[in-house]
Point group: C3
Chain length 347, copies 3
């Protein structure tokens, strides 16, 4: 990552709401954490857990919150703002645009667009992409080896990284980001046991994603049995997540890596699911619910509910029980002692 920024450029990006304390006249040539930062680096205090690293940081420019009481060293500048993490995000967006500029519109000569497919002149179609008959691709970016199925659609400003598959008839919304290797529209896992063999139940539906959805690398979203598996506006899905057929995910949910969501589950808006959690079929997870990492959910969760454990229970209850479980060895001893006392007394 080779960057070259002046502090003036940083102030331009952040706008009027930030306050400078101290002075640094050199160039900004890198970004690093507080403890790793050296002269020329931009750093930040986004999580109060790292407050103790601030004092000793060698970074030249440090983003801090408005209520930060520490003072910069000589030759160091603190830039105070309400939300230093957001400030960093703005700066990074600017760097990103320079580092990985959006590919130009056009179709790579090696790509194959079947007859009957429609591709916007604003689209950038990478090497070895395959766009099947009846598909529609808007002003989106497709990196290399992307496959778009029959009758599928990709909306404007979507970005599909290398080796994404969008299955037949699936619909990808505007400004979606689909990471490498994700599979949209694989068959739902549905079988009927007929004469001791599993007969596949055809999966006739599709996957529909609303605007501003992110889907992680190697994540899979199955097509609905009929109708649509649906991902709501602004929901962000991490890597290696499995979303089964007919799931409905609300708006602005966060689904962390390796989560598995079984068929026909309904997630309300703003649900947060920690990594490696699983949700059994046909359950309802209420709006704003939070599921801790590694939880296995076998019952509905009410709105704003917090769940944890195997099987899931209210988080407070889980935490209480986890403490008591660790006391079991001592507890068994206390019981044995009491039993002995009682028995000897009775005799």
């Amino acid at each position: 990552m080779h960057i070259k920024y002046t502090t003036e450029r940083i102030f331009d990006i952040l706008g009027a709401d930030c306050i400078a304390v101290g002075e640094y006249e050199g160039e900004i040539t890198g970004i690093a954490s507080l403890s790793e930062g050296v002269t020329g680096d931009l750093s930040f205090l986004g999580n109060s857990k790292y407050r103790s690293c601030l004092e000793n940081s060698e970074a030249s420019v440090i983003l801090v919150s408005l209520d930060c009481e520490e003072l910069p060293k000589k030759g160091q500048i603190y830039i105070k703002s309400e939300n230093p993490s957001y400030a960093l995000a703005l700066i990074c967006r600017d760097i990103e645009n320079n580092l990985t500029p959006k590919p130009e519109a056009g179709i790579h000569p090696s790509a194959i667009i079947e007859s009957g497919a429609q591709v916007s002149p604003n689209a950038s179609i990478g090497a070895f992409c395959y766009i099947a008959s009846g598909a529609q691709v808007g002003g989106a970016v497709l990196e290399s080896h992307v496959s778009i199925g029959r009758g599928a659609s990709v909306a404007d400003e979507a970005y599909l990284f290398s080796r994404v598959s969008v299955g037949d008839y699936c619909e990808i919304g505007p400004r979606n980001r689909l990471m490498a290797g994700c599979v949209i529209g694989s068959d739902g896992y549905g079988y009927e046991l007929i004469e001791n063999a599993h007969l596949r139940v055809p999966q006739l539906g599709n996957v529909v994603t609303d605007a501003d959805v992110d889907i992680g690398a190697n994540t899979c979203i199955d097509r609905a049995r009929f109708g649509s598996t649906h991902i709501g506006l602004g929901t962000k899905i991490d890597n290696q997540v499995q979303i089964a057929h007919n799931v409905k995910v609300g708006k602005h949910c966060l689904i962390v890596a390796q989560v598995g969501i079984s068929g026909s589950v309904v997630l309300g808006d703003g649900v947060v699911i920690g990594g490696q959690s699983g949700i059994a079929g046909h359950l309802k997870i209420g709006t704003g619910a939070m599921i801790a990492a590694g939880t296995s959910v076998f019952v509905d969760i009410e709105p704003q509910g917090k769940a944890r454990g195997y099987p899931a229970m209210p988080m407070m209850q889980f935490n209480r029980i986890a403490v008591l479980q660790r006391k079991l060895p001592d507890f068994f001893k206390r019981f044995d002692q009491l039993e002995k006392t009682v028995n000897s007394f009775i005799k």
Copy 2:
């Protein structure tokens, strides 16, 4: 999903064993669940959990079981059969054949067939497929970006979705369905610790799948150290499953998403493994055993056994203990009270 069916066509598909109650004269233009169905939709009552939705359903044609006592509304028809889920599957199969017809035989001009590879004239080879030297592909369908390794084989009527990899010398059975992104024949994970470094143990075997196996999206099946990792007849594997080297899977097993099976495990016939479960190396899982979702198995399971928990135990035992764990906070209090009572009495 645009469909157009008459009720007569439905009766043709289902055959003589179904009974009609009520009447609907319009066209069938969609399929939906009982609660979402509207006029023109076909719906079904496959799971008694949804019985209460039947009465208020607006669907025009509803598949129900023979013993269903409810009666259709005016302009609505109930089609009764022994297994309405199976009836639906038959109808859906017919729709599927219309919606996503099997690609025609032939080799896409962009595909590369290395010299020494054999491809059946009945095969349909998609764009950007790569078939290595010595490979044999029968009358199968390969969608785009499929890779078939040296000396590997794919039998008749197999269907390989976009971006499937079949590694060197692996053998895919007849009528297998391999979902997008799955990897058959990756190296087994085997190392010897030699002078503090991990020396890779060559993995010389392959993967062999019998007929009628389904393999989910982004699932991985490792090649054997030597001999074969083997998947038995009719077994259905969901997305993101990991099957390690030398595993033997029996016939007609169901392996749900994100399950991990360690090296040299042997599964009997008809084993069912719930999502996100894991099985430690070298274990035997008996015929007909069931492993609940999210279970971690560290011991053999007897035939027909039911296991659950971390670490796995008999399901009845797990369920009993799970109830008692939730009583621990109260239990600790009762104990403290009893201890106090005894101690004060003794004094």
Copy 3:
């Protein structure tokens, strides 16, 4: 697997440190486990768990340890060495070189090398590979459908299987083996909540792997927010592992399938993580620590620590508690009995 070896060839491979007991004059035509081996097979006793299989094995040539007291049958040879597993690995390496010879150097005519990319004349670039501008590929093997991003690099003797993606600016070390479908350099999962929507935090860093790293099929390693996600020398990562942004993995670690490691975690050298375990963000796992399969880690682990459970605790403690949990049903009964006794006595 068709092989043809003489016992003399085996002795050549193993060198002077092995001792022969018994005699076998035929050819070696296969490798099999003790119980499956037949005449002509090479077998081995690598794990004392299988000692009982030795006596009845029909294999013709069997690798055993120096202290093995059993004697071969007539027409059977035992080859004794200090580490029979290592001996087998040496033999298998020789077989592997014959079975799947390294592809010749050269660029497949279908591959696309963008202008500004540098490819070594010693590289073997497979069908449909895409190498973006600014990328550098040394004397490595790329199978089919591999994608190398802008400014990324692949060092000498790396082997990238089919459908590997190496993202922009990522650096793959010498002698790495990247299994099919793995994704190096996907975006880290980082968002800021701004006005009730999740704003993506740009991920400006890369992934750097040291020498001799193996990465499993469909594994994902996210690029750092800034700086590098780093995988240390000789570390071996299994299939479907998720490694989040800014993680630092030490040297010679083993990370088994389906493990998830959250952002900014630091693993010391020689850490071993069992399958399906998860590690929460920003934790430190000390050198030589072992984490049992299926564990969810929410606290730091000290060097040489052994952890197990949900949430993770010291393994000894977990095992003790697991035993007591199974006694809970009986324990509750004993308590009820004691309570009754006390109460009736007091009355």
